[in-house]
Subunit: 116 residues, 2 copies
DNA sequence: CTTGACACCTAGCATTCCTATGCCTAGGAT
DNA sequence: ATCCTAGGCATAGGAATGCTAGGTGTCAAG
C-alpha cells in the first residue's frame, strides 16, 4: 500500500482500535494489521509519534504498566477522543462516498449533469 | 473536508475525471466538485501543481488551446496514465476495504481472532 | 469602472508518514 | 556463553503532498 495513501486517516484508525479497550503501542500495531487483514502493517516510526500526537491533542490518555519485566505505555480513549472518533468515522464515510463517486467510470458530464 | 484527508488520493481523482475526455484545469476542478456532490471543492493551488506533477510523471499530456481570447491548458491521459488509473482504482478499493474493516465497531480481538 | 467569473501560475508553509537508528528485556537456539 | 528473534519504546531527519496567499490577465455585466 502506497505510503501516502494512509495520510490523514491514521488517527481515526488508531482511535478506533483503542476504542475497543486499552492497548499499548505494540498491540495497536498488531491490531491494525489483524483487523485490516494484513493490509496495514505499519512501522513503529509511524505509530508511536501518532500516539504522542493524539495524547497531546487530548484524544488519548496513557499510563505505564509493568508486565513480566516489560514496560508498556497503555493508551485509552478520553471523552474527547470518543467524540472525535465519531466525527472521524462520519468524515470517512463522506470522503469514501465522494471518492467512489469520482472514481467510478461514468459518461461525460456537462454543466447540466446535475439536475436542479 | 479535512485537508489531510485527501492526501495521496488526488492523483487518482484527477486521472479519473480526465479519463472521460480531455479537460483543462479549471474544468477539472469543476468536475471534481460536481461529481463529488460538492464535497470536493479544491483550491487552484492544489490542482494546478498536481497537474504539473502528473504531466512530469508522464501520466498526462497537455497542449494550449485558445477559446474566445482565453488560453487554456488542456490535459489528456497518456497510455501510462490509463494504466496508472487502473492501478490506483484497485489500490483505492483495497485501502477503502481495509479502513472499513478497522473502523467498523467490533468485539475485542485476541491473537486467536484470525482463524487459520 | 468595478465586480465577478474564467483561467493560469508559484513560493512557502504545515502536516504527515516513513526510514533509520538507538536503547532495553526475555527466551530460545547454537 | 553468545546470538538471534520477538517484544517494547523512542527520536531525528527526509520526502511528499496539499493549502494559503499572492500574482497575472481576459471578458461580460452592472
Amino acid at each position: 500500500m502506497r505510503s501516502e495513501t494512509l495520510k490523514g486517516h491514521l488517527d481515526a484508525l488508531i482511535l478506533s482500535v483503542v476504542s475497543i479497550g486499552p492497548l499499548h503501542g505494540y498491540a495497536i500495531i498488531e491490531q491494525l494489521r489483524l483487523r485490516s487483514g494484513g493490509a496495514m502493517t505499519l512501522p513503529e516510526g509511524t505509530v508511536y509519534p501518532a500516539l504522542h500526537r493524539l495524547e497531546a491533542a487530548g484524544l488519548l490518555s496513557s499510563y505505564w504498566s509493568q508486565t513480566a519485566g516489560r514496560r508498556r505505555r497503555v493508551y485509552e480513549l478520553t471523552r474527547r477522543g470518543e467524540r472525535e472518533l465519531g466525527t472521524r468515522r462520519a468524515e470517512w464515510r463522506e470522503f469514501a462516498h465522494a471518492v467512489e463517486a469520482v472514481l467510478s467510470p461514468a459518461e461525460p458530464s456537462g454543466p447540466t449533469a446535475v439536475p436542479a
